[in-house]
Amino acid sequence: MELSSISRRNFLNLAVGAGAAGALAACGSSGPGTSGGGSGASATYWYLTGAPGEQIRKDTVDRFNKDNSDSKIQGTAYQNDAYKTKIKTAIGAGQAPTIIWGWGGGGLKSYVEAGQVEDLTDWFGQNAAVKDKLFETSFGPATINGKIYAMPAETVAPIVLFYNKEVFQKNGAQPPQSWDDIMNLVTLFNGKGIAPFSLGGQSRWTNMMWMEFLFDRIGGPELFQGVFEGKPNAWSAPGAKEALTKLRQLIDANGFVKGFSSITADSNADQALLYRGKAAMMLHGTWTYGSMANDGGNFVKDGKLGWMNFPPVTGGKGDPSNTVGNPGQYYAISSKATAEQKETAKKFFKDAVLSDAEVKEWVDSGAVPVAKSSQSMLAASKDAEFLNFVYDISTKAKNFGQSWDQALSPTAAEALLDNIAKFFQKSIGPDEFISNMNGTIGK
């Protein structure tokens, strides 16, 4: 839908360029007046599809539009992996939506460096109430060079280890307490014809979660911090080789479901493997809880889904309370939007985003929103047990690392994902991975 409108704009631009009626110029997108991707005071907003978030995002927009008849927001939903490319292209082409949904970190930094997003530091200064209602930890990935460029929103989503209690019970297995337990469980479940771990490997960032935890548990958060800061040869720091070797052992032992490299996370097939009992465990973001509750029949309702933090590795440096994942989602405002659109967006941030109604919806869906007001609601939720677990992990973690591909620049992230895919495919080993990745530092 959006594509066709872009090509129409390009066509109109061409027509203008060819000397056709000047009146058409008003419809062209070259002027700063209309390049926000919408018209007049109505602001545009692109977000992600997928239950349950899509409906909640839509409800928030609808509520806002109902209360503000003069300044509306038009929402459009895109699929996760497709959106990542789409938003970059749109921003580069000056066709960005007014409100840019994102993950903060390296991606946001590249927008900031190109002057494409608004500095919200002053706005947060004037609206201290908005800032105060959000988790303090969630502001990290929104802050670039000491300034805030996005509003933390939606939910905190650490990566946790899910397991199928029924499968564990039937096979007399206990949830793993250490890396050695994990390797033993792999042997056990493979012997029973059940895949030890489900994995949507084609999406690549899914494989990355394994590396994130092993690096943290073995080398501590300093390991990736060095990479993030661009220290030369940071990937060969102590612990990296051991983490990669352990991961390789897991791959070699068929720890992951057969055919994992052709499964995408977008299709939720990895979750289906877990709730159908074809796989025993899955390392995934807490956002999958909601979709497993949605799609998995009575799996979640009957208490068959188990969860835990990633177990420690014997002799490792990382604190067992550490976690990685998304400390929040981030809404930025396009600097190319009109003054009215920006006003509308800010009003939306202030009144609608993480309003009590939205917070309640997130809690009901089985997620912990980044608003402090959520804590009191968790206990009343039908998913209280899980939500308290997520809340505790998020707030008690000694270190909450942001997902690597979000923290790094797009160029470095792509190189990382590419090498991770090759590593999981066994076409490169630990040493090659380290030397390849050292070559990308600072890019």
Binding site: L14, K84, T85, K88, T89, I91, G92, S110, Y111, E113, A114, G115, Q116, G201, Q202, V257, K258, G259, F260, S261, S262, I263, T264, A269, A272, L273, K278, S409, P410, T411, A413, E414, A415, D418, A421, K422, F424, Q425, S427
Partner: protein, 306 residues
């Protein structure tokens, strides 16, 4: 991009009368303008970008030969070229004999053949993305055809093992495009004068002999046309591979077009991506010209001795 062989017979230009003897060169103008705007201008833009540094969002900065150096020294480039070549060669090898046979078969005028011709044509009407999604679902190692039907042979890790994944890509591409090439061959076969077959029959040639001595040589130009379309077309396979394997597993099916996309739009390296685009254009042009050469000068008669 197609190079259709010129008709073997020379038509003498009418020297007088007819009222249409004026220059007709202007008729090419609309096509030329479209080609300039949508073909040449973007191409020049890409060429310019290949000497620049741009992340797709910020400013475009000139960077001289940086992008060329980084791409040409990257082991990913020979790999992508090799994968592209393998997929091109395999899909040519797979498609040509099959579409030739189907085309010859469909050239008959019996009613059931015409029905079949319509049926065979259907895959071409489907979008590549839809096809890829369908095949991906069918070949899913856990929820696909193999485990659904309980057939062990079908229960392979089709898209997760490098060699199998290349095979699947070739198969799906062929599945989609064989109907098109069959159609070309069908037309080609119908152009062959009946008299040749009648003469061959009188000389006592059997079906096989007729096929190899008349049909195949007579289809020379059709084969070249269809091969050019296949070979040049296979350089641009993107949607299908992107949806089916996303270049994976690892980089086993990362063809040039996909490499370009990943560098440009995922990694934000528009300079190197443009370098690959330029290489793609050069390879495509080279192949098209080479195949054109294969066809000879195109002025010799195909009907000698007929």
């Amino acid at each position: 991009m197609t190079t259709v062989a010129p008709p073997p017979l020379r038509v003498d230009r009418p020297t007088s009368g007819g009222g249409r003897s004026g220059g007709v060169a202007w008729m090419a103008v609309p096509a030329l303008i479209m080609f300039l705007i949508f073909g040449v201008v973007p191409l020049l833009g890409v060429l310019a970008l290949s000497f620049a540094q741009w992340d797709g969002i910020g400013e475009i900065k000139p960077a001289g030969l940086d992008a060329w150096q980084s791409v040409l020294s990257d082991p990913g480039l020979p790999h992508a070229l090799w994968v592209t070549f393998v997929i091109m060669a395999l899909s040519w090898l797979f498609q040509t004999p099959l579409s030739l046979l189907i085309g010859v078969f469909l050239a008959g005028h019996e009613r059931y053949r015409e029905w079949l011709a319509v049926l065979y044509f259907i895959p071409l009407l489907l979008s590549s993305a839809a096809l890829a999604i369908t095949f991906k679902a069918l070949l899913d190692p856990n929820f696909g055809l193999g485990s659904g039907l309980g057939v062990d042979f079908l229960n392979q890790d089709w898209l997760g093992e490098s060699k199998l994944a290349v095979g699947v890509v070739v198969f799906v591409v062929s599945w989609q495009f064989i109907p098109f090439h069959s159609l070309i061959y069908q037309g080609g076969v119908r152009q062959i004068p009946r008299a040749m077959y009648e003469a061959a029959q009188i000389d006592g040639a059997g079906r096989m002999r007729q096929f190899f001595s008349i049909t195949l040589p007579q289809l020379k130009y059709t084969i070249i046309t269809s091969s050019t379309l296949m070979v040049v077309g296979s350089l641009t396979f993107f949607d299908l591979i992107f949806v089916l394997t996303a270049g994976g597993p690892g980089d086993a099916t990362r063809v040039l077009a996909l490499d370009m996309y990943q560098r440009g739009f995922m990694a934000g390296l528009m300079g190197p991506a443009s370098v690959i685009a330029v290489i793609l254009v050069l390879v495509g042009l080279g192949l098209a010209l080479g195949l054109r050469r294969l066809g000879g000068r195109g002025d010799e008669s195909q009907l000698e001795g007929a």
